[in-house]
């Protein structure tokens, strides 16, 4: 913390012309040296043949330290300025990087992706200007959107994604709520919650391996090493390669959806558990005295009081399942009738290299979350805290 005296001394004009030139020089040299150091770090990381451990260490120090250094340098520069300028510019030193990055990575891409989606597979030709691009043969207008809603695989993806959204969110919420209610009344609440919650730390790729092992298939007659097939054969059924079981399509998607329920129920449980603990005990007690049984208490008192949490958990999981990608991509690669919107996006954009089509799919995903965006903005306006 600065002492008051410090401030006074710094602002007192001391020294003459020479001192001022010194300050200006310093103001040029320090940023220059900092940028140069950062640039050297970048070159080292890009070209170095040093051992992996060294590169990793340098990367971490350079990345984390570099951002800190940049803030320090810009703040130092602005604080050198006379007072009115300082007050005007300083907020932008603080807020500027965040706004710039958000604009570059999310805000502007919505417009750019929409623009690209109006062109054919190579996107707008880079060597033409805006008007020429619109007049060129690459401009296809709404053709990509028409294709999105008519192509067979896309229709399959929409159907499957609907299944994901409906079953994924419903079962996650039901299990989350059930476990939260049970844990609250059990003798081992903490342990139970930790274990149910644990899958949240596991990656989708890891979860896919875990469940692939459960679904592992060996031809009938051989020893089954997958748990599910082992149970099925011991009860006299025939083993199946469950997610690949095309005969029951589209229901084979459920074998993938289970994985996300397994991952997300813990999330729902934590939020519900906190909400349930927030219900005043007197309210439940009053219900019991009036002769309500536990089921009536649950449906008539508990559910209505956690309605807000219920809605937010539900929307979160809906958005989440809307964008589901990793599980499907690792488990089936979209084969056997399991494509979803995000795997189609990846396939069109990166496998088929059709950026126009891919961008149209991305815009569809964006349109699907716009209601939630408006809801968030409405909530924010109502808070009036800003």
């Amino acid at each position: 913390m600065n002492l008051p005296g410090n401030e006074v001394r710094r602002q007192a004009p001391s020294g003459g012309m020479l001192n001022k030139i010194g300050h200006v020089l310093l103001a040029v040299v320090i940023p220059f040296v900092s940028f140069f150091i950062l640039y050297l770090g970048f070159l080292f990381l890009r070209d170095s043949k040093a051992s992996r451990e060294v590169i990793v260490l340098v990367a971490i120090i350079w990345g984390v330290g570099g951002v800190g250094l940049l803030y320090w340098v810009f703040n130092w520069l602005v604080e050198k300025l006379p007072d009115p300028w300082k007050g005007r510019l300083l907020p932008f030193v603080f807020v500027g990087p965040a706004v710039a990055i958000l604009s570059w990575y999310l805000a502007v891409p919505t417009l750019r992706t929409f623009y690209i989606s109006l062109f054919d597979r190579n996107g707008p030709p880079a060597d033409l200007n805006f008007i020429q691009q619109l007049l060129s043969g690459s401009f296809v207008g709404p053709a990509n959107y028409i294709a999105v809603f008519t192509e067979d695989l896309m229709l399959q993806a929409f159907r499957n994604n609907l299944m994901w959204i409906v079953f994924g969110s419903t079962f996650s919420v039901i299990f989350g709520l059930l476990i939260a209610v049970l844990a609250d009344r059990s003798s081992f609440e903490k342990l139970a919650k930790s274990l149910i919650f644990l899958p949240m730390a596991i990656s989708f790729v890891g979860a896919s391996i875990i469940w692939n092992f459960i679904y592992e298939y060996r031809p009938a007659g051989e020893t089954q090493i997958g748990l599910l097939n082992s149970i099925v054969t011991s009860m006299g059924g025939t083993p199946q390669a469950w997610p690949q079981w095309v005969a029951v399509a589209p229901w084979n998607n459920l074998f993938l959806i289970v994985i996300v329920v397994w991952l997300q129920a813990g999330f729902a449980m934590v939020l519900f558990s906190a909400a349930l603990k927030g219900i005043p005990e007197e309210m439940l007690e009053a219900g019991r005295i009036d002769g309500a049984n536990e089921f009536q208490i649950f449906f008539r008192i508990m559910l209505p009081s956690i309605q807000g949490t219920l809605i937010s958990v539900w929307t979160t999981i809906v958005i989440f399942t809307l964008k589901i990608f990793d599980v499907v991509w690792v488990m089936t690669g979209g084969q056997f009738g399991t494509h979803v919107i995000a795997t189609q996006f990846y396939r069109q954009t990166f496998t088929n290299r059709n950026s126009g089509f891919g961008s149209a799919i991305a815009i569809i995903l964006l349109v699907a979350v716009i209601p939630v965006m408006f809801y968030n903005l409405k909530q924010f306006r109502e808070q009036e805290a800003f």
């Binding site: 951002v67 570059w104 965006m373 924010f380």
Partner: protein, 367 residues
């Protein structure tokens, strides 16, 4: 009165039982992988991992020589009072006294094993799978029939280091940038403050797929593809809206008088931010850090797109997905690899669970 108490106890018993059942169902998948990662390759391939539990198993007690019994393998044979064809004896025929007769080998040179059921546990654990998935060399395996098979291992150590180099900066950088921005939104006055914050709120749920095509074009133009900087910035961009929003909620609630007295003492915004606001916001920073770390460590899509072309920079998730794709039957590598990839998230998760839950309750839910 007593009846009611009994009913209450019975209710509690039912609750505990149901919950226990759900916990088992939820834990068994992970347990299966965990146990299997310590079993040797042949064992994983031939028996279910639940063989580590006590179970009944056939074990040889004596042997019979078909020649001395004078049997005709082409017709119906009678051994120890039971009759059957060669094919039936090949799969094993059970005798009434609980034994099993199994013909091993071919018709002419075979022998008959008399087996009895015994209790057994299959506890032959080792760290071999981990050595193979991390070490990167080839490994020799003896098959039960004596032949030797060479199986290549995998080099996950490299991927692990890369994941560290991606995950740590991708966690710290967005938090730093978001904290500066949140401080400015909360404690500074500047034109456009409200509009810019509305932008942050609106971007909370924008799916990152929207950004991939344009950003990839920019990276190509800037020659950034396949570098650490590229993926740090991408993760920063995709996590920043949420980070700013959450940290704003926390930083704007800090007690006004503490900050004001610091300003009266002549402290600059930068000093107040680094010396006062950051330390006071530690709980909020920690809970978001855990989220961002888990999210980045477990991410597959962003890495696939921005680091995809460069095998040297492969991350743990990419490495695992590659093994699934190319060697999906090598369960000794997959099980051990899956656990290597989960190790760090699980440590972070269990040691910082308190912050994690607090973060969830504050709304750490990414769009």
């Amino acid at each position: 009165m007593r009846g009611q108490k009994q009913r209450k106890q019975f209710g509690k018993f039912l609750v505990n039982l149901t919950l226990l059942f759900i916990i088992i169902v939820w834990t068994v998948p992970t347990l299966g992988i965990f146990v299997s990662s310590f079993r040797n390759r042949t064992k994983i391939d031939t028996t279910g991992w639940w063989a580590v539990l006590p179970h009944r198993e056939w074990q040889a007690v004596s042997e019979l020589d078909p020649k001395s019994l004078d049997l005709d393998p082409d017709g119906i044979m009678e051994i120890e009072g039971i009759s059957g064809t060669f094919d039936e004896f090949r799969t094993g025929v059970e005798t009434p006294d609980g034994k099993r007769l199994t013909w091993l080998g071919n018709k002419r040179l075979g022998r008959i094993e008399v087996q009895e059921q015994v209790w057994a546990v299959d506890w032959d654990f080792s760290l071999d799978n981990y050595r193979q998935v991390l070490g990167g060399q080839d490994f020799e395996f003896k098959r039960p029939d004596g032949t030797v098979e060479v199986v290549p291992g995998d080099n996950m150590i490299n991927a692990f280091l890369n994941s560290l180099a991606v995950a740590i900066p991708s966690t710290v950088i967005p938090i730093l940038i978001a904290a500066f921005a949140a401080y400015a939104f909360a404690w500074m006055k500047f034109p456009g403050r409200r509009t810019l914050f509305i932008l942050v709120v609106a971007l909370l749920v924008v799916p990152l797929q929207i950004a991939l095509v344009p950003i990839l074009r920019d990276y190509k133009a800037l020659n950034l593809n396949g570098t650490f900087l590229a993926i740090w910035l991408a993760h920063t961009g995709f996590g920043l809206a949420l980070a700013t929003y959450l940290l704003y909620n926390y930083i704007s609630q800090l007690p006004r008088d503490i900050l004001e007295s610091a300003f009266i003492d002549g402290a600059s915004h930068f000093t107040v931010f680094t010396q006062l606001v950051m330390p006071l916001s530690l709980p909020a920073l920690a809970s978001f850090a855990i989220f961002q770390f888990l999210w980045v460590w477990n991410d597959y899509l962003v890495a696939l797109i921005f680091l995809g072309g460069n095998p040297e920079f492969e991350l743990v998730t990419q490495r695992m997905a590659a093994i699934v794709g190319a060697r999906g039957q090598d369960w000794h590598l997959l099980t051990a690899g899956a656990f290597v990839s989960m190790l760090l998230p699980l440590i972070v998760f269990f040691s910082l669970q308190r912050f994690f839950v607090r973060g969830l309750l504050a709304g750490s839910v990414k769009g």
